[in-house]
Symmetry: C2
Subunit: 110 residues, 2 copies
DNA sequence: TTTCTACATCTAGAAAAACTAGAGGTATAC
DNA sequence: GTATACCTCTAGTTTTTCTAGATGTAGAAA
């Protein structure tokens, strides 16, 4: 019985959501699917994590929502990136890049 | 005034500590310095995070401690990796590798 | 018509991990 | 003697995610 590990790296959820929305406006359910797809099933976003995150991002002014219809003809709340969100994405991406490569560098030390 | 970001990726502290200890037994203070050094100052481990982490790792049986003297002739608690700790390091390294590259892959999508 | 499945949103409360902000103590240099 | 760098430790808080649900709709299947 090994220790169970999650399918997310803590601190990356906001960034991943911003990134996905920077490609296309999308609704919550779609964001989960998209992240799962692009990551080849490695990254799994829980609904219980996603919606609170979306509300927080909205509060911060990084995304904005509107009601629309999905491909399946259902009502869903769509989100799109704001200007501030684009900047935030750039900041978070740079931060991730720096720290992730630092971690990888430490892990590669012999 | 942008959002302040930390100098650690959450969830990587245990792994980094195990990794550093896999190279040489070391005391807490030294572990912080070593991580900072190898990461070119990108990763900063707080004392307030490190010691609780060391105690947790000890509880789990992944490291073991003993009292010794440092280069500066001070008493310090040294830690060394156990067999179980070596295995755990391998598990966590593989997990990190998988997830970090998945995140990077998502971030690289156009 | 009912019932099932996949789609879609949301929340309360708990858990995990790290941070803040200290306290306490020692060897050595000045 | 006192300042500084070294060294350990902890209580309480914050941040972030997870668990474990509730609620509801469209369309397919029975």
């Amino acid at each position: 019985m090994g220790k169970q590990q999650s399918d997310m790296i803590r601190g990356t959820l906001d960034m991943l959501v911003l990134k996905v929305l920077s490609m296309d406006p999308m609704h919550g359910w779609g964001i989960c699917e998209r992240i799962k797809l692009i990551s080849d099933d490695e990254l799994q976003v829980n609904q219980g994590s996603l919606y609170p995150a979306l509300h927080k991002l909205t509060q911060e002014g990084w995304i904005r929502s509107y009601w629309g219809l999905t491909e399946n003809n259902r009502k869903a709340r769509f989100y799109r990136l704001t200007r501030a969100g684009q900047k935030q994405l750039a900041v978070e991406a740079a931060h991730w890049s720096r720290l992730a490569s630092a971690v990888t560098r430490v892990m590669a030390t012999s």
